[in-house]
Assembly symmetry: C2
């Protein structure tokens, strides 16, 4: 951008179709920040294209003016991928919102990128199917954002990440080229699977405009139980047994350490506590049944055997859907953190399952060793090796010691063979640590691909990829 901002914006307006450009006070504050707890930044301008063709036109115009662009979905990201960059234009997919087609025999749904996850789930449900990716932000997050971050959630153990639930994409490259890879088939080995590079690239390689999602048969019955165990060794024993006995019927396996479960169970206004006394570990289990299958019985028999065997100390089995929702209360209390803890530091670590217990012990030792009043709350998707850690140092108030806690957490994660982002992505917040998770050779290949698809580094600059 060599001109002054006003002249640049005038030139941009002249190059764009009417009605898609907003500037100044007309840019809603929702576009100034995502959920990554960074200071709001007003974008230079906001583009809200209504079609893939308008996305293409916009990128060509931005390229001619040398303007960078930050793609925006539902703004629920926790790593900063959609957070505005100073001097860059934000491009929101919010007007490209809708279900394009459903194929009930091929089990596919074609959608526009700005469609909220909850709308996709509801549309699948309406035809007796399911879109199985599910996460807390379902009402606000969009499919485009889910794809760009390869979102995970609570049923990855059975259905995989977003990557495993998409068959085709349409996307627009930095130079405005529209690439149609809207494949609707489960099998299509005709050349490189280009969509894979866009998935999880956080908008740095292209802008996703449409997707063909994979749908799944919908379970007819769902059984839910909250298990209390003596320690993490029992958690891995439980996982092994339930996988063996339930196979793919095991659809949720969410672990909670006492640091998280007991603290939140005390802090939340629960009608009654799930267990009479504290335990060494907790696991929320869900099993899904189809057709004639009596999944509730199978789960109950399995858990009874595991109490007998001493793997479980106690268990609460939901007798109704309302019971099941109650059992999820502590696990889904994320939105209460602010009220209960104040400002927090959040981590999304991936680690081999066999090392999760030892990593938690190390985190819960080393963080308080440095910050004596620190709270370290641990929970996660144990079946996927995904550990969430929430840290709060009460004495630090609004100025939580980001850098020091980051350093402790990521050093330990590396020591246990883990990764710095399991499902949230890199964005800006984790970029300084990406070298801990990826080799110099891998980072170099990432840069080669970035240069091949976006040679002017116009798409979401400063995100994900560290400078060489």
């Amino acid at each position: 951008m060599t001109q002054d901002p006003a002249a640049t914006l005038a030139a941009l307006a002249a190059a764009l179709p009417a009605g898609i450009l907003s500037t100044g006070a007309a840019i809603g504050e929702a576009h100034w920040h995502d959920w990554s707890d960074q200071d709001p930044v007003p974008p230079l301008a906001l583009l809200r294209p209504r079609s893939t063709a308008e996305v293409s036109t916009a990128l060509v115009a931005l390229g001619r003016l040398g303007l960078a662009v930050v793609p925006q979905g539902g703004m629920t990201g926790l790593a900063g991928g959609a957070h505005p960059s100073a001097g860059a234009v934000a491009l929101s997919l919010e007007r490209m919102n809708g279900i394009v087609a459903i194929d009930e025999i091929g089990l596919t749904m074609t959608v526009e990128a700005g469609t909220p996850l909850a709308a996709v789930q509801a549309a699948a449900d309406a035809v007796g199917l399911q879109y199985p990716v599910d996460l807390g932000a379902r009402g606000s997050c969009t499919i485009g954002g889910n794809l760009s971050t390869n979102a995970g959630g609570v049923r990855v153990i059975r259905y995989g990440m977003t990557r495993e639930n998409v068959l085709g994409l349409e996307f627009v490259l930095a130079d405005g080229t529209v690439v149609d890879t809207l494949n609707t088939m489960i099998k299509n080995n005709a050349g490189y699977d280009l969509k894979q590079m866009l998935i999880g690239a956080e908008g740095t390689l292209g802008i996703i405009t449409r997707a063909v999602l994979r749908l799944q048969p919908k379970p007819t019955t769902v059984a839910t139980a909250l298990c209390a165990l003596p320690d993490f060794d029992a958690v891995t024993a439980l996982l092994k047994q339930l996988r063996r006995r339930l196979g793919p019927a095991l659809t949720v396996f969410e672990g909670m350490w006492p640091s998280f479960h007991d603290f939140m169970a005390d802090a939340l206004p629960l009608a009654r506590k799930p267990f009479a006394r504290p335990h060494g570990a907790y696991v929320l289990v869900e099993a899904s049944g189809f057709g004639e299958e009596t999944i509730q019985d199978r789960l109950e028999v399995a858990l009874a055997d595991l109490i007998e065997a001493g793997v479980l100390e106690d268990v609460v089995i939901a007798a109704s859907e309302r019971d099941a929702r109650d059992l999820w209360t502590v696990r889904e209390s994320v939105s209460e953190y602010g009220r209960i803890l104040g400002r927090i530091l959040g981590y999304d670590l991936g680690v081999p399952i066999h090392a999760m217990g030892a990593l938690v012990v190390a985190l819960e030792t080393e963080i308080p060793a440095r910050f004596p009043d620190a709270r370290t709350l641990c929970y996660g998707h144990v079946g996927d090796g995904n550990l969430h850690v929430v840290v709060n140092v009460p004495s630090a108030g609004l100025h939580q010691p980001h850098d020091e806690v980051d350093a402790i957490v990521y050093a330990l994660t590396g020591r246990f063979g883990g990764t710095i982002s399991a499902e949230h992505g890199i964005g800006t917040l984790k970029k300084p640590y990406l070298h801990l998770a990826r080799s110099p050779e891998a980072l170099d290949v990432m840069r080669r691909i970035k240069r091949a698809l976006d040679p002017a580094a116009m798409l979401n600059p400063g995100k994900l990829l560290p400078d060489p």
Copy 2:
């Protein structure tokens, strides 16, 4: 290659560790051809490295000498991806064969690329788990080849392609750079998922040397049935019902049209025919049960209901493992084609499931319209929208009309929204038709990625990617 071949080979020998280079008559004929029915081509030389470091050294040496390299696995490919190119060196991964590690709680297996699929399956089975990718060539094909072609097989409906069953890769770029992305976690969103570009690239972007595979719980019981139906509409009704009633317990759904089933059932030396009279369509179904589940009962009840409802005309349910093997006989008779039909033309089409019936009708009309004595045998992985077509024109003998039948088949495939390769890849045989399945923009992106990773076009030149 500017020198004469003897001088080039001498220079190559000097640059390589002892014991990995073979030339002339020392190159086994197994390295002259794959299963793609093309004329054998002796490679200029054969390299059989014993380690990733030796693969890297070899690629650096080949690059300095301007030599192209064709990576080779088990040589079972049907599209020509591993078939030698004149003047190129073959690099076989056969000595890099072995299981490196198994994680029974994380459900991963780390293997060298040259390990045969059957050895991986056996190693998983030995610890009470399964590696679910399965295909006829299991005894000969290798994991490296499975990955490079994104192999499919008979259980894709439940477990996905090879891509869905791998967590990490180690690979070597054309310039000798070793890239370690041997991730062992289900979730790892730390930057671009580079392994995805190597999977299905047929050795054109790098040479895969190791992989971390995903294992699955092993079913405790498997039920198998062969169904007879009036027509393809009933096949889609059966698929819909079984998905709804069995969910993920449905692990095989293999369709056979009468052109395939009745012809092969007559031609094979079967002890008894499965059905007393011919039917309009056949489906081989497998359901897998875990733990307490009585999957045999569930499948039997479902199929009895579907006979009642008129979806099925007849059904044979296996009462033993031996029965089950017998029910697979016709479906797995691929190796008998040569003996029964002589020289054949084979196709591996992907098409939306709802269009499969109409595509078969069109193929079985238009091919005989052009070649009156032609036989057109149709079967496939209906649950995945993958149709295999075998054509033989008896009057053409050894000179089957490749080009004309290709043109008919691929034109019809395009008309019904299909793809020219569902699971076999592109190689050399399908390269002339890739433009029918991929847009010019997609082909351009493929070329940009190829140039970024292999600027001298040294890896498997002439394969997969058409010249611009």
